[in-house]
Amino acid sequence: MRSSASILTLALMAVAAGPLATQALGQATGWVMPRTADGRPDLQGNWTNATMTPIQRPEGVGLALPVDEVERREQGRWDRIQRGAEASDPDREAPPVGGDGSTGAAGGVGGYNNFWIDAGNQVAMYNGEYRSSLIVDPPDGRYPPRTEAARARIAERRAVRRQHGQYDNPENRPLAERCILSFGSNGGPPMLPNYFYNNNYTIVQTPDHIMIMTEMVHDVRIIRIGTPNPLPGEIEPYFGDSWGHWEGDTLVVETMNYHPTQIAQVGVFAGTSKDLKVTERFTRADENTINYEFTMEDPSTWTETWSGEVPFKRLPGQVYEYACHEGNYALFNVLSGARAQERRDNGR
């Protein structure tokens, strides 16, 4: 097992102590909340939310995972990484005609080597508790049901996309493929892991602004601090219009006015309306952790609000530039491939 004995001991202490464990550990280690010159908790630095813990929980599983289950899951991930590092046969031939059977984005052609992947290899621990999902409310850890109106919006957006072929032009390609937004909801809000790579963030803080840069696709959010003076409804930037204020030592950020193309994506935003409101809460829990809570509200989309908790851990290293347009040959290849396929289909 990769965990050192001391980490395991701390973890066991934390599980035994329950939700107050983080505070207790902080006291035990003599940790003092770092503060900026204006006395606010200092959230600055490089952080990562990479984790194995999925957003949604499988049905019938509790929120807290026992230590032996955590060890089993993390060992399984490490075994997979180890298999990926093993040598291949140097006499191997080309893969099979018709595809290699891979699924998902690998699309039957196999993607690329495992060494490019950095998906997170640990189960999320939040307030001393190992977690089976990032969603904590509803209590079953699953998205609440979508309303009839949300399902209608999903169908309508799909119909709009289908007016043109999905490879007809760059605008019909997904935002991530076009280097406009990161994978999934990496840039947020809510800022969630993409379960692939580069789940890293830099936070810079002043008394009146907080900047959060997501490594993937260099997504940058600017959060204004103070009494909200919201943008007019027709101004809808990517990542929405975010306003923050402090409640004690917790930074609370409320976001509305999302860009319609951002909320038309699949995943957490599927079916959402112009009224989507996301509330985030950032609390320093110890030297190496920010507790990140988020709540999703949109009465015409979900039958109830829902919330999640994600640990942001200090990143031991740098966040690197991700100049996505610099070498985006893939988008060219996708469109050029579609044109070549059309020529083949037309016998030219």
Partner: protein, 149 residues
Amino acid sequence: MRKTSTTIVLAGLAVLVAAVPLLAHHAFGAEFDRDAPIRLQGPVVRLEWVNPHAWIHIEITKEDGTTEVWMVEGGTPNTLLRRGLRRDCLAVGTEIIVDGYQTKDHSLTRANGRDVTFTDGTKIFLGSSGTGAPYEEELLRERAAQGRC
């Protein structure tokens, strides 16, 4: 090339190992032609450590003796930077083997790097983040002794 039962089994394993059944920057199936598998072997002539995907250029020698440069797609270089990417990890002139699929536009000599290895079959990097797994430390020590990444 010979095809013993052993190599078939190994090739089968390579499929499992190389496959990345996750979300990604783009759908590989839209970019590459599953009916155009390729195996390439040759020296690296250029590296583009760029986002969103790194591209490795290699020169292959065709049966008629002429040469051709192919571009091979990898993942984000940021992950490799965190794993200790150095200029010499895949130096120009290093011979590598690539298996993958050609782009759907066959006029391009481009392919995905489904499995990219040195000529002895070893991987260019280990799939680790340096978090200290015992197997990893041992492999890293061995590779450092050989001057590898």
